[in-house]
């Protein structure tokens, strides 16, 4: 390991001062669960690490203007155990139970989990599916973008070197129900080979609206727009679901890797897509 600088800002403003547009080797660290792995394997060699754990606050979970707003420094376990989250977005609570393990959830922060850009993460597809946005701040500006637009490629995000995520805003839509289910192909706590997030609005058996975002199989979370369009205003039955699954397969081109071949992952997408939709429709539940 090469030596690097370690700084401990007290506020986010101070933290932003340390970042540099031109220097990708200056990074922030919160839980460090992903960064440490990258540093150990030599993929990332930092010049300076900015420890955000010393920053007070910015971890509130609250409702503001029909949005559930979560500060980017909230621990995943805080989200997991928040009564507000349980009440307003049970699918977000449910995802935590199987997101890595309790030790990781106790230190990993929401902002870090979203900034990492590893396609095998659980929160990006779910939050994309929930139509969430992130507030991104740099020293001199602030912008709001959709979580879905945050991911540009394999470990590649829309974040500039001088930017950090300060807040996640999830619109609360009482008519909608959502779920996220994932599939591992080795041990149960492995990286997912596939994650499927579904968020839908059902009106008397008619699917008035549906959002589907697939994680892990492609380089970024992928919204299945053709499949969504097909399903809109349909009554769900097995043949409609089968047709939807076939359309889904035209929209993705899964990567073959150690978690499974492209063909097998395609098959998993068709199975899990149907399961995710059925989970919501059959149980009327907000989570698996």
């Amino acid at each position: 390991m090469h030596s690097f600088q370690w700084v401990e800002p007290k506020t986010l403003t101070e933290a932003l001062d340390f970042l540099s547009m031109d220097d990708p080797d200056i990074r922030m660290v919160t839980g460090g669960t992903a960064l440490m792995l990258m540093m150990k394997s030599g993929v990332f060699t930092p010049k300076k690490l900015i420890n955000l754990r010393t920053v007070q606050g910015n971890s509130d979970i609250l409702i503001k203007d029909d949005h559930l707003c979560i500060g980017s420094l909230a621990c995943l376990s805080e989200i997991e155990h928040s009564p507000l989250v349980a009440n307003e977005l049970p699918s977000l609570k449910a995802v935590m139970k199987k997101l890595s393990n309790v030790r990781v959830r106790n230190v990993a922060r929401l902002g870090g989990a979203l900034s990492h850009g590893d396609p095998h993460m659980d929160l990006p597809p779910l939050l994309s599916c929930l139509d969430a946005s992130v507030r991104i701040q740099s020293k001199n500006s602030e912008r709001l973008i959709k979580v879905l637009d945050l991911y540009l490629g394999y470990y590649e995000t829309a974040l500039e070197n001088n930017e950090l995520i300060t807040e996640v805003l999830i619109p609360l839509k009482p008519d909608y129900q959502s779920t996220y289910i994932k599939c591992t192909t080795r041990s149960a706590d492995d990286w997912p080979a596939l994650g499927v997030a579904v968020n839908l609005h059902l009106n008397q058996n008619i699917l008035e609206d549906i959002r589907i975002v697939i994680g892990a199989v492609c380089e970024t979370p992928t919204m299945l727009t053709l499949t969504q369009d097909f399903l809109k205003n349909k009554t769900i039955n097995d043949s409609v679901l089968n047709e939807a699954a076939n359309i889904a397969l035209t929209e993705i081109n899964p990567l073959s890797d150690e978690l499974g071949s492209s063909e097998y992952k395609s098959h998993l997408v068709s199975v899990y897509l149907k399961r995710a939709i059925k989970t919501i429709i059959n149980k009327g539940a907000n989570h698996e």
């Binding site: 080795r186 706590d189 492995d190």
Partner: protein, 757 residues
């Protein structure tokens, strides 16, 4: 502590482990904690090619890096050890690569610095130029390939059972074992049914959570080694040989280990730390990362072709086994695995005509050695899958076909050795009873299908091997057991203390077990192959009895009558609380090496291990995912010294094999392991543990074992993989013949079967 009991009071009790409290409260010292004044840390520079001639190694930048103490290659090693090759079976492994590299990850150079990060950074500045040679990775290809991994084979002659190895050229075959009993060919020609199947196992690793670590403080006349090793006595012997020193000039100290499973046997880092400590005149420590462990020792991948002649009733008349063991670039203990497991490759069945061909092969993969079962799990995978395939083809119940062929007490096994003290039948029947084999089974509905499977296996112990022990009674009546068996997590210290306590009528908790230190603790061959309780247990019992006899003699001479306190004997004899009594015990079981021509022996093993497995599984037919609903492990381990420890050994062994069955596989790309970390090499986690695990050590008594006990560390690994494969076929009608049995593999097999029908 007064008189001697008539019945056992310490043996058979589930005492808590002696070391448990210290471990869970962070008070246990491991080799990783050792820091010596002036100590340097070594970081290894490794080969990036699988097979190649070393053209040049440039260490100049590393040497110039601020803080680097020294950088060495094999040229430097040779200045102090002219012939720096080691290995238990072949002297094939150089301390650092000489002229050639044989696998990706082979140590080529080493950087030494006081700071580990400096050593690490400097190691990255070393460059090496290779003339790449074609490489061979597959064990079958290695049999006939023009690519030869080693120019010449050099047997080491350390172990008496491998004395027959001889040097050969132009071959990758390190050892071939042949067994011939009866006339298989004649039977195959005339039999009603002949079945032939081929099975494969993958390369996996031990993944001890305490990674390999060694420290040496070497001087011209005295070398001290602190090492996480399962075989301190062997390390002493081999380092003494390398340095041309006497055994009393080499001191090997082994603290508690955080897991071993066969990875920490023989020489791993010890020769390198000793050589570099001599060169630098400073203590040297090397600690491997988890990633580096994947390039140090692994489990043999295998191909096993098995062929059986069977009559219409399911009686097996003849069997031929061809087994190819992928030993990787260095033989390590592979030849012994090949031979010992060769004895039982035909399975625990009574077969008149048997032929076994077993080959240990060199390839350009990371080396393979012993891993919890010494090759047996690879064999059982094949022969117990084969048994079920025969049963299904002949429409015979899988339990019935096993009953029909099972090897019974008093009958000769394939080598000709008469079976004694192996409760194979009892174990099989217990598995069958626990899994309610005779009752109807819920096969599932819809997309979830259920199945069940069984497997039965046995294993010959490694022989001949020696164990010795010392029991010392202090003047206050307290007692210390000295032995070189290593407690690497299996709790052998506790079991051994129970044996001493039983003999001396003391309390187990009051027996101190000293840590292996070859200056203090007497010789033990190694902690491997489930040998400790039987071999060392026997030596410990003899040592305790020796001490007891001496004490009683002393008491008699003093006209003390029972009951008396030990302390009173000392006070009366020495005039004060002073003195010691030493008891010594030594045990080497008898063994007859196999005949060179037909592989037969009338005394193949001092004892037999028997393990049976039953599983109930559910398969998600839409994805191929398996859930283990119930896992049953039954063994014959003789009379358990500590039932609770036996129970945890059974669960631990079975769960470890579950990983090798379902999730673990080292992926190689041009010889490079592409998933050498826990992020990408997946051992079972808590959520993979079967909901129901039932363990049983059947009532048994090993006639010559200490208090009727024998080994148990490996037995529950044997049957796990084939029992699952058999359950898969029961559930969804497809046969899986390679490991790991991933959901994708199962799903594809199901899809293929569907397309056929």
């Amino acid at each position: 502590m007064s008189d001697y009991p008539n019945s056992l009071k310490e043996v058979g009790q589930s005492f808590p482990r002696k070391e448990a409290r210290h471990k869970v409260t962070g008070q246990t010292n491991y080799t990783h904690h050792i820091k010596l004044p002036g100590m340097l840390i070594g970081k290894i520079f490794r080969s990036t090619v699988a097979h190649g001639k070393i053209i040049s190694i440039d260490t100049s930048q590393a040497k110039a890096y601020p803080g680097v103490f020294a950088v060495y290659t094999s040229e430097d090693i040779k200045t102090i050890i002219p012939d720096p090759y080691y290995g238990p079976a072949f002297l094939d492994q150089p301390i650092l690569a000489i002229n050639k590299v044989h696998f990706v990850g082979e140590p080529v150079a080493i950087v030494l610095a006081e700071d580990i990060h400096i050593a690490e950074n400097a190691a990255q500045l070393i460059t090496a130029e290779y003339e790449e040679l074609p490489a061979v990775y597959d064990e079958i290809e290695a049999m006939s390939s023009d690519i030869v991994v080693h120019d010449e084979l050099k047997p080491s002659g350390t172990f008496p059972d491998l004395k027959h190895l001889h040097g050969k050229k132009n071959t990758n075959i390190a050892l071939d074992y042949h067994l011939k009993r009866g006339n298989t060919q004649a039977i195959f020609d005339s039999a009603e049914h002949v079945f032939e199947h081929t099975y494969h196992t993958q390369q996996v690793m031990h993944t001890p959570l305490e990674q390999m670590v060694s420290v040496a403080d070497a001087h011209q006349d005295q070398v001290t080694i602190y090492t996480a090793s399962q075989s301190p006595s062997f390390v002493r012997l081999e380092i003494a040989r390398l340095l041309g020193m006497r055994e009393n000039q080499i001191r090997v100290k082994v603290p508690h280990l955080g897991g071993g499973f066969g990875a920490k046997l023989y020489i791993k880092l010890e020769a390198l730390v000793v050589a570099t400590s001599l060169l630098t005149k400073r203590p040297v420590k090397i600690s491997l990362t988890m990633e580096e462990q994947f390039y140090t020792i692994t489990k043999h991948p295998t191909t096993f072709k098995i062929k059986s002649a069977v009559d219409k009733n399911g009686k097996i008349l003849a069997r031929r086994c061809d087994v190819w063991w992928n030993g990787g670039a260095y033989a390590d203990i592979g030849p012994r695995v090949t031979q010992k497991s060769g004895f039982t490759a035909a399975g625990p069945y009574d077969i008149e005509n048997v032929e076994i061909e077993s080959y240990a092969l060199y390839t350009n993969r990371p080396p393979s050695g012993a891993l919890r079962g010494f090759g047996i799990p690879q064999l059982v995978w094949a022969y117990e899958s084969h048994t079920d395939q025969i049963a299904r083809a002949l429409n015979i119940d899988p339990l019935e076909i096993r009953r029909k062929n099972i090897l019974k007490e008093g009958r000769p096994q394939a080598t000709g050795t008469i079976m004694k003290g192996a409760e194979i039948e009892k174990v099989l029947e217990s598995v069958a009873a626990k899994i309610d084999w005779s009752k109807p089974f819920d096969k599932g509905t819809g997309t979830i299908r259920r199945g069940r499977g069984i497997a039965i296996a046995f294993k010959a112990a490694v022989a001949p091997t020696t164990s010795t022990a010392i029991v010392m009674i202090n003047a206050d009546g307290s007692c210390i057991l000295s032995m070189s068996s290593v407690d690497m997590g299996q709790a052998s210290d506790t079991s051994m203390a129970q044996i001493v306590a039983e003999v001396l009528n003391l309390n187990t908790v009051d027996i101190k077990v000293s840590q292996p230190d070859t200056d203090m603790t007497p010789y033990d061959m190694a902690t491997l192959g489930s040998r400790s309780v039987y071999h060392m247990g026997k030596a410990v019992k003899l040592a305790a009895e020796d001490a007891k006899n001496k004490l009683e003699k002393m008491a008699q001479d003093l006209n003390l009558s029972k009951p008396y306190h030990f302390r009173d004997v000392f006070i009366k004899h020495y005039g004060m609380q002073a003195g010691s009594i030493l008891g010594f015990g030594s045990f080497i079981p008898s063994y007859t090496p196999p005949d060179k021509k037909d592989g037969s022996t009338l005394n193949a093993t001092p004892f037999w291990m028997v393990g049976g497995t039953g599983v109930e599984i559910s398969i998600d037919t839409e994805t191929g995912h398996i859930t283990i609903d119930r896992l049953i492990n039954v063994v014959d381990c003789g009379n358990p010294i500590n039932p609770k420890i036996v129970d945890t050994q059974l669960s631990g062994a079975a769960i470890m094999q579950l990983g090798f069955s379902l999730t673990e596989k080292m992926n190689l790309d041009a010889g490079q392991v592409t998933n050498a970390s826990f992020a990408d090499y997946k051992i079972p986690g808590f959520n993979d543990i079967p909901l129901v695990i039932e363990n049983e050590a059947i009532e048994a008594y090993q006639i010559d074992g200490p208090f009727g006990a024998k080994g148990v560390g490996e037995s529950a690994t044997f049957g796990v993989s084939p029992a699952i494969a058999n359950a898969i076929e029961d559930a969804v009608g497809v046969r899986i013949n390679e490991l790991p049995m991933t959901p994708e593999l199962i799903f594809n097999a199901m899809r293929k079967a569907q397309q056929k029908s």
